[in-house]
Structure formats: structure tokens, C-alpha cells
């Protein structure tokens, strides 16, 4: 088929051609970027935290009228209250294991610092940034972490201190990511490190496979898997406990937790959010990501629909306008399929022009988003896939009007002008 007559015909419909091409270009630009955003969000949401998330919940509470001082007496009183809570939780029939903790992955409350290989290093000169988790000998088991080297904490390792006390522990367990950063040879167990520029040595006794930091913010992205677990019960006038329920008993355990704690000691505040399953923590942490992906998905679908509808509308109009010419061509010997192909080719041509402009717009939009928001560069694959999609969309949209055109009978040519 020759393109020349087609281009000549399109010249007579400049406005329509420009509109369809523009629409395809804009659709391509937005859909590519939207799908890219969806992909990124989905990837983020699906990152495993390293925990066994099922049957896990968190209890956060605050005592009222508890001592607030940093003196040894107050600390020991607060520790006794904490141990009382732990014992009560552990005695629950639906509970498998309990650990005190300062935070959990995705909770966005964190205590962060740096780990150094040398003593008394300046904080900024640390060898790796890390987040700190504080728990007891049940921490690894309760959270369902996988120990890949060394040993777990035992009861003898566990100490307690006031939460403002900055002294460093004798032993820690670190994540594999952190261990590999500090000791690339993979022999971290038994090595000495220094926390937060301290002069006190700390020994790494174990390595867990994976444990995410509490913060999901982009600022923590550089050390998202560097976590250090200290065998320390932190004492303050508040506390939180990670609880693993027996399989299938999560709801039952959660329901009895609040009354139980009030029975242990009524002078405390537990609100609606105080007993929270890890599934809820996860959905809260990623609410914006999931919502964003859903919004983008809906917008993409509607956008493709609107663009297809626009193409159908304008092409139908052209078919109506060229009714007689089509009849003439048919009378002069063109087959039905020639007419069909004519309109399909025409659409391919317009959509092709639109796609070329759209590729430029898509990349431009991506650059703009990169500049203003924390967005990565879009891989070329997305743009190419987008081009294929809009070309197919054009073909799909043009099919029905083109078939109508091909059904115009040759006799139309002979009818009165």
C-alpha cells in the first residue's frame, strides 16, 4: 500500500490528526510513568522484613505514676514492673513466646547510630550505620529471625538499663548485611566492634539472615538492612512487647492481652492502638504506597479507555465524511480488506507519530519527577512496552470504525452527490 495518498488525505484533516497524536503522546507519557511508579511501590511493599510476620503482635503501653528518675532504684523498680508484665504475657495459654522490644520493622520509631571497628571513633567516621533493637533472650525466636552464624542470646547475656543510659552492651547479634559490610570475609562472629564512637568493646556473637530497620522513610534507605540487636531490657515509664501467638490463636491472644495487663497493674494507659497485629503495622506503614499504586492503576485504565474512546469518535467521524469516497474506491475495484487496511494503516501512522512524541514526553516527565521527588530513572523497557501498548490500543480502537468503512457498498458511488 502506498503511503503517499494517505498522507495527502491526512493533510486535509490536520486538526484531527494533531488531536489524536497529541492524545496518544500524552497518554503514553503518563501511563509509562504511572506504571513505573506502581512497579516501584509494589516492589517496596513486597520487601520481606526478615520477620515471621504471621501470629505476631505488638503491645505498647505506658505506666502511670511509675518512677521517672535515672537513679538505680527507679530503674530497678521499672524493670521489676516490666518483668512482671513479661511473665504474665508468657503465662497466657495462647502465647508461644514474648520479648521486650523498643521497636519493630515498619514501625517508624527507631534508635539509630554507627558501628566502628576502632575505639573512640567520631560518630561520622563510623564504618557502618545501623539501627538498634533491644530485646532479651527470646527476641530472635519471637520475631522468627533466622540465625545463620554464631549463637543466640542466652539468659546470662541479658541486662537492663534506663532508656537514657548510653552505656554499650558486651555482646550483640547483627544482621548479615551489617556483618558483611564490616567484615567482608564473612567472619564477623567473635569480632570486636565499637558502638556509637564508644571506647567499650562489644563482641558480635551471632548473625541473623535479615532484619529490616524500623523506618520506611527514604532517609533510612542507605542502611535499610543494617540492624544490631542488643540483649538489653530498656527501662522507662513505658514499654513494648512483641508477642508471638500460637498458630491460629492470634486474635484470641490479642483480645485477652489488654484485660490481662490491667489485671497485673491498673495504673497504666492502653489505648486502641496499644495492641496491634503485625499485619496492621505493615498495612499502616505502606498505606500511602498501596494507595498510590491503586490510584495510578485506576488512572491508567481510565486514561487508556478515554484515549480509545477519542480515537473511535474521531475515526467514526472521518468514516462518515469519506462515505462517498470509500464507495468510489470500492467501485473502482478496491476490496473490503483494502479499505480496512487503509484505516488501520492511517491509525498506525498517526499513533506512530504520537508515540515518538510520547517517548520524549515520558522521559521528560520522568526527569522532572526525579528532580522534584525521590524517583529513580525509568528503564527503557517501560517506554518500549508503553509504545507497544498505545499502538495496540490505536489498532483496537480503530477496528470497529474501519470495519464499518469496509462495509460501505460500492453502489454509494453512484448515488446522488
Amino acid at each position: 500500500m502506498k503511503l503517499h495518498p494517505m498522507i495527502a488525505a491526512l493533510r486535509r484533516h490536520k486538526a484531527g490528526v494533531v488531536l489524536i497524536a497529541l492524545q496518544i503522546a500524552l497518554t503514553l507519557a503518563i501511563v509509562c510513568n504511572a506504571v513505573f511508579i506502581i512497579g516501584q511501590r509494589v516492589q517496596r511493599v513486597n520487601r520481606p522484613t526478615g520477620l515471621d510476620e504471621q501470629n505476631l503482635y505488638l503491645v505498647t503501653q505506658q505506666w502511670v505514676g511509675a518512677p521517672t528518675g535515672d537513679d538505680a532504684d527507679s530503674i530497678q523498680k521499672m524493670d521489676a514492673m516490666q518483668r512482671e508484665d513479661l511473665a504474665a504475657l508468657r503465662a497466657m495459654p495462647d502465647v508461644a513466646s514474648v520479648t521486650p522490644t523498643n521497636s519493630l520493622p515498619l514501625l517508624n520509631q527507631s534508635s539509630n547510630g554507627a558501628m566502628s571497628l576502632a575505639a573512640d571513633a567520631k560518630l561520622l567516621d563510623g564504618n557502618a550505620r545501623t539501627t538498634y533493637y533491644f530485646g532479651d533472650e527470646n527476641f530472635v525466636r519471637t520475631l522468627g529471625l533466622h540465625l545463620v552464624a554464631g549463637r543466640d542470646f542466652n539468659a546470662g547475656d541479658v541486662t537492663n538499663k534506663g532508656f537514657r543510659n548510653t552505656s554499650e552492651p558486651a555482646v550483640v547479634i547483627v544482621t548479615k548485611a551489617l556483618a558483611d559490610k564490616l567484615f567482608p570475609k564473612g567472619d564477623a562472629v567473635g569480632k570486636i566492634v565499637y558502638l556509637d564512637g564508644s571506647g567499650t568493646p562489644t563482641t558480635i556473637i551471632g548473625v541473623v539472615e535479615r532484619l529490616q530497620v524500623p523506618s520506611t522513610g527514604s532517609w533510612a534507605g542507605t542502611f535499610a538492612w543494617n540492624a544490631t540487636i542488643e540483649p538489653v531490657r530498656l527501662n522507662g515509664n513505658f514499654s513494648s512487647y512483641a508477642v508471638r501467638a500460637k498458630p491460629g490463636r492470634l486474635l484470641a491472644a490479642m483480645k485477652t492481652t489488654t484485660p490481662l495487663l490491667y489485671k497485673v497493674n491498673p495504673l497504666r494507659v492502653l489505648d486502641d492502638d496499644s495492641v496491634k497485629s503485625f499485619a496492621d503495622i505493615r498495612s499502616d506503614a505502606y498505606r500511602a504506597d498501596v494507595g498510590m499504586a491503586a490510584l495510578m492503576g485506576v488512572i491508567c485504565l481510565i486514561l487508556l479507555g478515554v484515549t480509545a474512546a477519542g480515537i473511535v469518535g474521531l475515526t467514526s467521524f472521518w468514516v462518515g465524511q469519506r462515505h462517498r469516497q470509500i464507495g468510489v474506491r470500492r467501485a473502482l475495484g478496491a476490496r473490503k480488506v483494502d479499505i480496512l487496511h487503509y484505516f488501520q494503516m492511517e491509525n498506525l501512522l498517526i499513533a506512530g507519530i504520537g508515540a515518538v512524541v510520547g517517548v520524549a514526553l515520558a522521559i521528560g516527565l520522568n526527569l522532572l519527577l526525579m528532580q522534584h521527588y525521590e524517583m529513580d530513572r525509568m528503564p527503557v523497557l517501560y517506554v518500549l512496552a508503553g509504545v507497544v501498548v498505545v499502538l495496540l490500543l490505536g489498532q483496537g480502537a480503530v477496528f470497529s470504525p474501519a470495519r464499518r468503512a469496509s462495509n460501505v457498498p460500492p453502489v454509494v458511488a453512484t448515488r446522488a452527490a
Binding site: A15, G16, L19, I20, L22, Q23, L26, A29, I30, N33, A34, I37, Q62, V64, G65, T68, D70, D120, K122, L123, L124, R164, N165, T166, D196, G197, S198, Y262, P266, L267, R268, V269, D271, D284, R287, A288, V290, G291, M292, A294, L295, M296, I299, I302, L303, V306, T307, A309, G310, G313, L314, S316, F317, Q321, L365, L369, H372, Y373, E374, A417
Partner: protein, 437 residues
């Protein structure tokens, strides 16, 4: 004539239902998507204190030094204890307050068996006047109470309802964290969004605070901050005294400055203060201070969540495509009636009359699209909760201004989109149409 053209427009909507439905839906969806995201954007990017945002300033003093500062040698976002006390004592502004977050609990009493949480702020006496806090009963405390470290407290209407059943509780006693306080004022609902006065703690869209207590009193009680506390270097403090002498920043300062001259002189004061500290050997770097008003402070903190502005951009792009689509469909719709236009023109209608007719027709399409858009916007706003945290979703509301805006945008955009198709319609050659038709 307008009414007649409007009727014609309605009639033409019915004549070509598929094409009309396409246009109305394109406009409806486009407007709804833009308006829904705009409602969120408006809620989060609004000025929380429009009448005073140019008089309230956050001073910053660099107590960390260029080695440990934030990006681009930006000083820390709050003050440490030493600088906060020095600025308070100097009193270089007409009004000033230091503030930080405190958390206490109300002891059980009356018919309440369980304690309540009472979160709030330790503030100076100027706080209430500076931020225009509305009172239902009583008022704030005085500067003398600041100096006397009085056990006074201002409570929220909500806490007053829980503890005192909503009665006028001024003068009564409330036990907070084991200490008795005298209620001196009860606020009406006051919770500016975003919470501009405490961006440091990142609770931009938190619920209303329950209590406000004198900053000086909180110092006496050695109340550690429950909000953010940001430190540099090796930490070695073990006591409150050690903490207050550390480089940890946790106090948000505010000053009220009424004129450019006052701003300039306060800036000088800050620079001089930092220079004195350098001379005294406390800082070994040149003065590095900042003074930002409310709008600049919100900007600096990038309070508007990225979800909100990205989705606004995407929605605007979406709307643009819908408009391009509408231009195309209107063109098809109008040009189909070229014969009809030819007849009207031949019978003496002027071009401007053709213009008027078709623009009004487009307006009716826009109106229909706007009505659909209104319904979809209402639906969209109620679904905002899936995209944003509940704290933000709560702020997005359908009100009269949003409804009006939706209709106006839909009609104006459609009429704008109709200019080119209407121009083409007006330039139909009557003679040619009559001959060809």
C-alpha cells in the same frame, strides 16, 4: 437567545447519545480526578495561620558546627537547652516562646477507673497570644507565672469534657503524672493543620494536644522531651544536668516580629549571639544562623506529602488528556452538522451567532460533565483514606467552594476546548455545504 441555544444544546446531547456520553464521561472523570487530589493538596498545603504567618519566626543557631550539620551546612532544626535559655533571657523579640512535647497522664478519679493519656506542650506564656489560641474558659498564664514556675495548666476542651464533664473548670485542680496543677484556661477546639509550630516532631497532622504547661515548670520537673531529640557525636550524659549541657537539640523556638526593621534587628541579635559564643569558645565556627517565617518554615520542612503533589500532577495531566479528547469529539460532533450550519448561515445567521450557539452547546456538555464530576468527586474524596493516612484524609472535605469549583472548572474547560471546533463550525462555507448537501 441564550435559553434557545441552551435548549438546542440539550437537544443535541440527546441526538448523539454515544458521542455525548463519551464526552460527558471524559470531562466528568477528568474533573473528578483533579478535584479529588486538589482537595487533599489544598488541605495539606494551606497556610495554617494566614493572618500572622509573616510575623512569626523560627530562629536557628548552629551549635553542631559545619562537620556535623545537616545538608548544605544547615544548622540543627531545633535548639539545645543552653541556647534556648540564652535566647529566652535575652528577650530580643516582642513576644517569644520555647516549646517542646511532653507526655503525662491524668490519674483515675471520679467515675474513671483507668488513667488517661494527656499529651501536649511545655510552652511560654506568650504562646497563646502568638498563635491566637482560642479559649472557651479562662485564658493563658502570665509572664509572672512563667517566672514563678507556677503549676498552672491550660487544657483542651476535649480533656475538659473527659475529666470535668465539660464544665467551667478554671481554678480546679487536675493531677497530671502525680503532680497537682491548677486549671487556668480551657481552649476551644484548636488544632492548626499542618501543626506549623512543631514541625520538628514530624506530627504535621496529629490530633489536638490535650494540655499546655509552663516551660519553666517542665524544666523544674526535669521532664525529658517525648518528641524528637537529635544529638551529634558521642553521647555520655546520664543525668538531666548532663542532658541539658549536651548538644542534643529538642526545643522549638518562636519569636514574633512585627516589622522588617524588627526582623533585621533580631537577625543581628542572633548573629551577635553566635559570635559571642564563638568568642567564648563554645562554638569554634563562624556565626551560622537562620530566621524563617511560617511559610518559609513549612517550605523548608516540605510538609506537603510527595503523594499529594505527584497525584495532583498526574491528575492534571489526566485532565489535559480528557480535554484534548473533548476537543476532538466536539470537532467531530460539530462538523457532522456542517450541512445544518450551512443552512443557518445561508438564512442570514452571522458567524458570531454560530459561535454563540456552539459554545453554549459545549457549555451544556460541560455542565453535564460537571454534574457527573461532582458525584465522582464526592466518591473520590470519601475514598481518599485509601491513599493517605487517616490524619490527612480527614482534612479533605467536599464543601461549597469545592463543589462550585468543580462545576466552574468543568464548564470553563469545555467551553475553552470548544473554541477551535466552534471556530471551524463558524467558518463553514454556506454555498459549498448547500451545493454538496
Amino acid at each position: 437567545m441564550f435559553a434557545y441555544y441552551f435548549q438546542l444544546g440539550l437537544r443535541s446531547l440527546r441526538r448523539n447519545p454515544a458521542l455525548t456520553a463519551l464526552m460527558v464521561m471524559a470531562i466528568g472523570f477528568g474533573v473528578a480526578a483533579s478535584m479529588t487530589t486538589y482537595s487533599v493538596f489544598r488541605a495539606v498545603s494551606g497556610n495554617p495561620i494566614p493572618d500572622k504567618s509573616a510575623q512569626l519566626f523560627v530562629p536557628k543557631v548552629d551549635n553542631w558546627g559545619p562537620q556535623q550539620n545537616l545538608k548544605d551546612n544547615e544548622p540543627p532544626d531545633a535548639l539545645d537547652y543552653v541556647d534556648a535559655m540564652a535566647l529566652l533571657r535575652a528577650h530580643a523579640a516582642k513576644r517569644q516562646t520555647m516549646l517542646y512535647q511532653v507526655m503525662m497522664s491524668v490519674m483515675p478519679g471520679g467515675d474513671r477507673e483507668l488513667p488517661l493519656n494527656a499529651n501536649g506542650y511545655a510552652v511560654g506564656s506568650d504562646f497563646f497570644a502568638m498563635f491566637e489560641v482560642p479559649f472557651r474558659y479562662g485564658g493563658g498564664w502570665s509572664a509572672q507565672d512563667d517566672d514563678a514556675r507556677a503549676a498552672d495548666v491550660v487544657i483542651s476542651g476535649e480533656l475538659n469534657r473527659k475529666v470535668f464533664a465539660g464544665e467551667n473548670s478554671v481554678g480546679r485542680t487536675i493531677n497530671l503524672g502525680g503532680h497537682d496543677y491548677r486549671v487556668i484556661g480551657v481552649t476551644s477546639h484548636w488544632n492548626p493543620q499542618p501543626r506549623f509550630y512543631d514541625l520538628f516532631d514530624n506530627n504535621y497532622f496529629a490530633g489536638e494536644p490535650d494540655i499546655y504547661m509552663p516551660f519553666t515548670r517542665a524544666m523544674d520537673l526535669k521532664m525529658y522531651p517525648v518528641g524528637r531529640n537529635s544529638c551529634r557525636g558521642k553521647l555520655s550524659y546520664t543525668t538531666w544536668e548532663g542532658f541539658t549541657q549536651s548538644n542534643c537539640v529538642w526545643i522549638s523556638p518562636w519569636v514574633e516580629l512585627d516589622s522588617p526593621a524588627e526582623v533585621a534587628s533580631y537577625r543581628n541579635f542572633l548573629t551577635n549571639y553566635a559570635a559571642e559564643q564563638q568568642q567564648a569558645g563554645r562554638f569554634n565556627w563562624a556565626p551560622n544562623v537562620r530566621l524563617r517565617d511560617v511559610v518559609q518554615w513549612l517550605d523548608y520542612y516540605q510538609v506537603v506529602p510527595p503523594e499529594s503533589s505527584i497525584s495532583l500532577m498526574v491528575a492534571l495531566g489526566f485532565f489535559l488528556i480528557c480535554l484534548v479528547n473533548t476537543i476532538g469529539l466536539l470537532l467531530a460532533k460539530f462538523m457532522r452538522r456542517a450541512g445544518e450550519i450551512g443552512v443557518r448561515r445561508a438564512l442570514g445567521a452571522t458567524r458570531s451567532e454560530i459561535y454563540a450557539q456552539y459554545l453554549i452547546e459545549a457549555g451544556t456538555v460541560g455542565l453535564a460533565g460537571g454534574v457527573l464530576g461532582l458525584l465522582l468527586t464526592a466518591l473520590g474524596v470519601s475514598g481518599v483514606g485509601i491513599l493517605f493516612q487517616p490524619e490527612i484524609a480527614r482534612l479533605a472535605q467536599v464543601d461549597f467552594s469545592l463543589m462550585g469549583l468543580t462545576l466552574i472548572v468543568a464548564i470553563a474547560a469545555t467551553v475553552l476546548a470548544a473554541f477551535y471546533p466552534a471556530w471551524r463550525a463558524a467558518h463553514v462555507q454556506p454555498a459549498w455545504q448547500l451545493k454538496a448537501g
